[in-house]
């Protein structure tokens, strides 16, 4: 079982979190076309590589967090607290998080 670096609780087993999917901005429902709305509902990048995801730490701090995770290695960069305006920094490779896996 991998661990996720909760920015509030520290590293925890992934079973404590619920996956909430790729970070997908909600279009303005007043102006979105049906196509734009359905892209928001159903279309994901699903890359082989780094992806920004939302996870819910339901068995911990009960915060929604943003995790930048590599879908091949499962390496996770230090996560970001949602609600803050700080963007997920996908360029940093200086992973200080324990058990983040390191470059493989």
């Amino acid at each position: 079982m991998i661990q996720l670096p909760c920015p509030w609780c520290g590293p925890r087993n992934v079973a404590e979190f619920r996956y909430s999917g790729e970070v997908t901005p909600r279009p303005d429902p007043a102006t979105a076309t049906p196509e734009q709305w359905r892209d928001y509902l159903y279309i994901r990048r699903n890359p082989s590589g780094w992806v920004d995801e939302t996870w819910y730490h339901g068995t911990g701090c009960r915060r929604f967090i943003r995790v930048s995770r590599h879908t091949v290695s499962n390496e996770a960069r230090p996560a970001v607290r949602t609600g803050t305006t700080a963007p997920v920094d996908v360029t940093s490779t200086d992973s200080g998080a324990p058990d983040a896996g390191g470059a493989r």
């Binding site: 991998i2 049906p34 915060r63 949602t82 200080g96």
Partner: protein, 1189 residues
């Protein structure tokens, strides 16, 4: 062996037992007895089953898988393929590993009628049917014979017998967080563990054998001296925890290593789930068999097996031996044999090009034919032809093994991550000193890396006391290079023989598979099943690759090898299942349901009364008099804050801006795709205080959904911040629905402070007041059943009191408890849909018939764009009321609706197309006919349309779409009924007594004996108040406790930083009101949004105290509870036995203690799980609940 001979020789003797050996592991001062295929054998403690049998002269232990050839000892250890036996009820026991215990009955498997006269050995004569790939070739056609094939195949399998009466063992589980885990307790493993521990690491040392020592155990005086020294050093090192008879099964991402621990008293197997800082892989080397004709005849043994038999068990493995040796181990085996009095007839030295050609004999070695033409009479052939590196854990860490021809074995290869290291023979060769020096360097470096990781973890967790410590500054430890010694490449000799002893795959089979085109190692493996038996390739992989290389004319390096997947050795399914943690939830009224004989219904985690014997009578009581139902599982969310109307407008499809205080409204939530997600009523209790109800099953999801919006789109930092706090209070209230025409009369006898008249408290209103002497009850006037009804939410500790008062004071009114089944009938009669029952994952709001509710003129709500689209294009299907023309028939739910015709009788659409389904159906006791709800294609949904319902028995019955969803009282007159009866006054219902979750009737089970190392106390009576405020503002500063920590304030209350911007304050049982008032004053800061919610009734709280608390919690909790990560004063939320639990470390008098705190309804389950986890340490139960914090 015939019956006659059993009688003639009732007990075998240890005729092959040697004089005492210096390294022997048997205790000759004590004797045991056991039976082998009905015959009694002696043994000593320390004997394996196989060593005791070998001491008694036994040579044949099983029949091989396909050809039923007799098989004896090969490796004399856990992996020995020929010695897998049945022990009592337990099949597939590795008998060369399992110690003898007194009185066990051991028998062979896969033999009929007996080990020596096996009729299936005739398969050797019909081997052509069992050629490689026979599974794929022989049993193909005709298909109707597949069941027969299965029976044939089953008889060939190794499987032992499982008795359905076998009692369930206690299979245990625990978590561990070692800095360093050393897999393998030989000299290298012990040296690495010692060096790691001395460098400050906590070490888990895991050894497969019953003692530490590895190959030293079978060695001579020099090795035994080193062994004694290392064992003493390990025993003296407090930083090392040793697990013997245990195996590191696998290595998963982030160094997650499952370890199976066997043979604990009363525990067949325990799975240790270890999150490891640095994994040191030191399994040593496994000796490889040699492939030649007759290499599986009993009496052909590996040199390590012979040395184990002689040196560990003092068993003479034969009388006259030939030794084929290519290395020092073989030379040592020859010496050991001579010392044991075995006549070593020839030593065949492969390093000089000498070789063995074949073995003569069928049930045992008779003679050995050498390459020089000699044929030597012997009953034992010992081979020492090389080693296999068990790179399992390395493969799983990302390394690809590399073949080194000079050393004739695979080496670990590159690709290991930083957190996995290797030591010992798997890493390279050298004398003992050199390997120990190397391992010590590896251990020290493993510790250094682990300390860096531990520091990073300490920095990341909020539970540590004070600031994070300074970063460790240790320099990397230089690890000396180990070389690889030259070893002749010996795999197959001049004849063909067995490659896979478990699966009966010979080198000839591999050659023929290659001729058929299966010439890659992965294909070959699957086609021939080579390496797929119980040994899982540990003995046979390299030989299989070598024979494949030989057959394809390539090199071993070109051929490659298969990758070892988990598990390294097979754990039992029991070990993988571990303790079964299946949380259940109970309402506070459960003792009453038990007493009333309720039939339990499992609904999600909840145990609910399905009925009390007669659901139809319960329905009639509600329609004609009054009934009460326990609806505690209904989700309840306490909402506080000025922006609640914004939130409700967003989440519900209908409008919420103008809900007055004292009013409730029904609402439906959809997901962003417009699909119906949940429904319920929400009432406004005060200006900025609402109570939202959800479906029972949707309670958790709706809470998370609300939090999602409040934490992301409308978080305090967003452009549109909303000031709303949501707190789940589902189990803070015991909820009772009082329904029926006489419900107002009954309520009047209990309620004070609320005018129950229709004018004062009309339909869809909410009031708070006193019920049966209990204050702070919330009363909704709503009507899921279609009758006049009140939903009473009582502070949960008083739930049982109010329930019993309702039954007592309603007796003359005809009150009856009713269960979920009656409620389902009542709501179906009334046509109320249930989300998930009458809707599915595609049902959008219009499809559920919610047209009047959906307000597309709202600027935004969740799912609006999809609903606008559906409104424009029409819903493909609709929810309708449906009645079969023959009202005596109840169509099973999910019955298909296949064809339809109009009133004129003309069919609409094709006759066999599925056009819908029955979603709910019951016999209505009120109407005396069946009633249904159904999903129907929109073109058939018009009232009056006749459709055809196809029953599972094939009957097609006509049914009619009804005017309304409601079958009973569609106008809704009953639930507004005002019988005009005299209401009240309230009667005296006695002084209510509050109960805790752990003691719902006021009594705890008495299990106190005062001797345990653990004490558990019910802290349920304590006041529990939840405070919410910005996590970094003035209020947070005034509270003075940060997230992750707990401390007592000046008034003695324990303040727990339970979440970011969330504090749980625990105070004395009698000071609740003052505590709430004090916290309200504390949080009254200008400019900050805060809330204070009393959860005293909503939570279960218990205290665990004693030296063994961390050890007991490690069985149910995956968190590292060590003193640096989780010191005194640490507070965290995690899973305990699968229940979301707040854990607060709260030591007393220097003895570790923890407060555990969860939702009230899970409290009793958590309590039971902790009793189970603590049992092995001795558990005392305090008779008196805690009343001060």
């Amino acid at each position: 062996m015939t019956d006659q001979s059993v009688r003639a020789h009732p007990t075998a003797t240890s005729s092959h037992r040697l004089q005492a050996q210096p390294g022997e592991v048997i205790d000759r001062t004590r004797s045991l007895r056991f039976t082998w295929n009905g015959r009694t054998f002696p043994a000593h403690p320390g004997d394996s089953i196989v060593s005791a049998l070998a001491a008694g002269g036994e040579r044949i232990f099983s029949r091989s898988f396909k050809y039923h050839r007799p098989r004896g000892i090969l490796s004399a250890d856990y992996h020995d393929p020929g010695t897998i036996l049945q022990v009592d009820d337990e099949p597939n026991v590795r008998a060369a590993h399992r110690p003898v215990t007194d009185g066990i009955a051991v028998s062979s498997q896969n033999t009929w009628p007996s080990l020596r006269y096996d009729v299936k050995a005739a398969n050797q004569l019909v081997g052509r049917f069992l050629a490689p790939g026979f599974y794929y070739k022989t049993f193909i056609k005709p298909e109707r014979l597949w069941p027969a094939y299965e029976k044939v195949l089953a008889r060939f399998a190794h499987a032992g017998r499982i008795s359905p009466d076998t009692p369930h063992g206690y299979y245990d589980k625990r978590y561990a967080h070692p800095d360093v885990l050393v897999a393998g307790g030989g000299p290298a493993g012990m040296s690495a563990a010692l060096a790691a521990a001395r460098a400050g690491a906590g070490v888990l040392l895991v050894e497969e054998e019953h003692q530490l020592g590895g190959h030293l155990r079978r060695g001579g005086p020099d090795e035994l001296a080193v062994l004694a020294e290392l064992r003493a050093a390990v025993a003296a090192e407090p930083g090392i925890e040793v697990l013997t008879n245990s195996v590191a099964l696998a290595r998963y991402d982030d160094n997650w290593v499952p370890v199976v621990q066997r043979g604990l008293p009363g525990i067949p197997e325990r799975l240790v789930k270890a999150r490891v800082g640095t994994l040191v892989v030191a399994p040593g080397l496994i000796e490889r068999p040699y492939v030649f004709a007759g290499n599986d005849v009993p009496g052909v043994m590996l040199s390590t097996a012979v040395r184990r038999l002689i040196n560990l068990y003092a068993v003479r493995p034969g009388e006259r031996a030939v030794v084929l040796t290519a290395n020092a181990e073989g030379d040592a085996a020859a010496q050991d044999l001579r010392r044991a009095g075995v006549d070593v007839a020839a030593v065949v030295d492969a390093r000089r090009g000498e070789d063995v050609v074949r073995v003569h004999g069928r049930s045992g070695v008779r003679a050995v034919e050498l390459a020089d033409g000699r044929k030597i009479e012997a009953d034992l052939l010992v081979t020492a032809t090389g080693w296999t590196a068990p790179t399992s854990l390395l493969n799983q860490s990302g390394a690809r093994p590399v073949y080194l021809p000079r050393a004739a074995r695979f080496t670990p290869g590159d690709g290991l991550p930083d957190e996995v290291m290797v030591a010992g023979g798997i890493a390279g060769d050298g004398d003992l000193d050199r390997l120990r020096t190397h391992a010590e360097a590896v251990g020290a470096e493993a510790a250094r890396r682990a300390v860096v990781r531990r520091h990073a973890k300490l920095t990341a967790v909020p539970t540590r006391a004070g600031e994070a410590p300074a970063a460790p500054d240790g320099q990397p430890v230089a690890i000396p290079e180990l070389g690889f010694d030259a070893h002749p490449e010996l795999f197959r000799g001049r004849t063909h023989g067995m490659v896979d002893f478990s699966e009966d795959v010979s080198s000839k089979d591999i050659h023929s598979a290659v001729r058929e085109g299966y010439d890659s190692v992965e294909l070959l493996k699957r086609y021939t099943t080579v390496t797929m038996g119980p040994a899982q390739g540990k003995l046979e992989t390299v030989n299989a690759v070598a024979v494949l290389a030989e057959a394809t004319g390539s090199t071993i390096a070109e051929t490659g090898t298969t990758v070892w997947r988990p598990m390294y050795t097979p754990p039992t399914l029991g070990a993988l299942a571990g303790r079964i943690f299946e949380p259940v939830r109970h309402s506070p009224m459960q003792p009453a349901h038990d007493r009333l004989g309720a039939a339990p219904l499992v609904a999600g985690q909840w145990i609910r009364p399905d009925h009390y014997g007669d659901p139809a009578a319960e329905v009639r009581a509600v329609r004609e008099a009054v009934g009460i139902i326990d609806v505690t599982p209904i989700g309840k969310l306490d909402l506080r804050g000025p922006d609640i109307p914004e939130l409700l407008n967003l989440l519900y499809v209908n409008k919420w801006s103008k809900l007055e205080i004292g009013r409730v409204r029904y609402g439906v939530m959809c997901a962003e795709d417009g699909v119906v997600f949940d429904d319920g009523v929400t009432g406004r209790l005060a200006d900025d205080h609402y109570l939202m109800s959800t479906t029972s099953s949707g309670a958790g999801a709706v809470w998370e959904w609300v939090e999602n919006w409040l934490q992301t789109e409308h978080s305090p930092e967003s452009a549109t911040p909303w000031k709303v706090h949501v707190t789940p209070v589902t189990t803070a209230y015991a909820s009772i629905n009082v329904a029926g025409p006489r419900s107002r009369e009954l309520m009047g006898r209990l309620v004070s402070g609320v005018d129950l008249s229709d004018e004062a408290f009309g339909y869809m209103n909410v009031r708070t007041g006193r019920v049966a002497g209990v204050d702070d009850c919330v009363l909704w006037r709503i009507g899921f059943t279609g009758e006049l009804s009140y939903e009473v939410h009582v502070p949960a500790g008083y739930g049982l009191h109010v329930w019993e008062a309702l039954l007592e004071h309603g007796r003359d009114l005809g009150v009856r408890p009713f269960g979920v089944e009656a409620q389902r009938i009542l709501r179906l009669e009334k046509g109320h849909f249930i989300v998930g029952q009458d809707t599915d994952g595609l049902t959008k709001a219009y499809g559920a018939g919610l047209d009047p509710l959906v307000k597309l003129d709202k600027p935004d709500f969740v799912g609006k764009p999809e609903l606008a689209w559906q409104h424009e294009h029409g819903a493909p299907s609709r929810l309708v009321g449906l009645q079969l023309v023959d009202g005596a028939v109840v169509p099973p739910e999910a019955s298909q609706i296949v064809a339809a015709r109009s009133d004129s009788g003309a069919y609409i659409g094709s006759g066999s197309a599925i056009r819908g389904r029955v979603t709910s159906s019951r016999m209505s006791p009120t109407l005396n006919r069946s009633v249904c709800l159904a999903q129907l294609d929109a073109d058939l949904a018009e009232p009056g349309t006749t459709v055809t319902v196809r029953l599972p028995d094939g009957r097609h019955l006509p049914a009619r779409v009804t005017e309304h969803h409601a079958h009973v009282d569609p106008a809704g007159e009953r639930l507004r009924a005002d019988a005009g009866v005299q209401v009240g006054p309230a009667r005296d219902c006695g002084t209510p007594a509050a109960r805790t979750a752990l003691a719902p009737t006021g009594e705890l089970p008495a299990t106190v004996d005062g001797s345990g190392s653990l004490r558990i106390t019910d802290a349920g009576p304590l006041a529990k108040v939840l405070v919410r405020a910005p996590h970094d503002g003035a209020i947070a500063a005034a509270i003075g406790v940060r997230f992750g920590r707990a401390a007592r304030d000046a008034d003695g209350a324990l303040v727990v930083g339970s979440g970011p911007g969330e504090w749980l304050v625990l105070g004395g049982a009698d000071g609740r009101d003052e505590l709430v008032a004090r916290l309200e004053r504390l949080t009254d800061q200008p400019g900050e949004f805060a809330s204070v919610v009393d959860l005293t009734h909503g939570r279960a709280l218990l205290r665990l105290h004693g030296a063994a608390t961390a050890a007991a919690l490690a069985k149910v909790c995956a968190i590292d509870l060590s003193d640096d990560v989780t010191p005194n004063g640490a507070a965290l939320r995690t899973s305990v036995a699968k229940v979301v639990t707040d854990v607060v470390r709260d030591d007393a008098d220097g003895v570790p203690g923890y407060l555990l705190h969860c939702e009230r309804s899970s409290g009793r389950y958590l309590f039971d799980a902790l009793l189970d986890a603590g049992a092995e340490f001795g558990m005392d139960l305090d008779a008196h609940p805690m009343t001060t914090s």
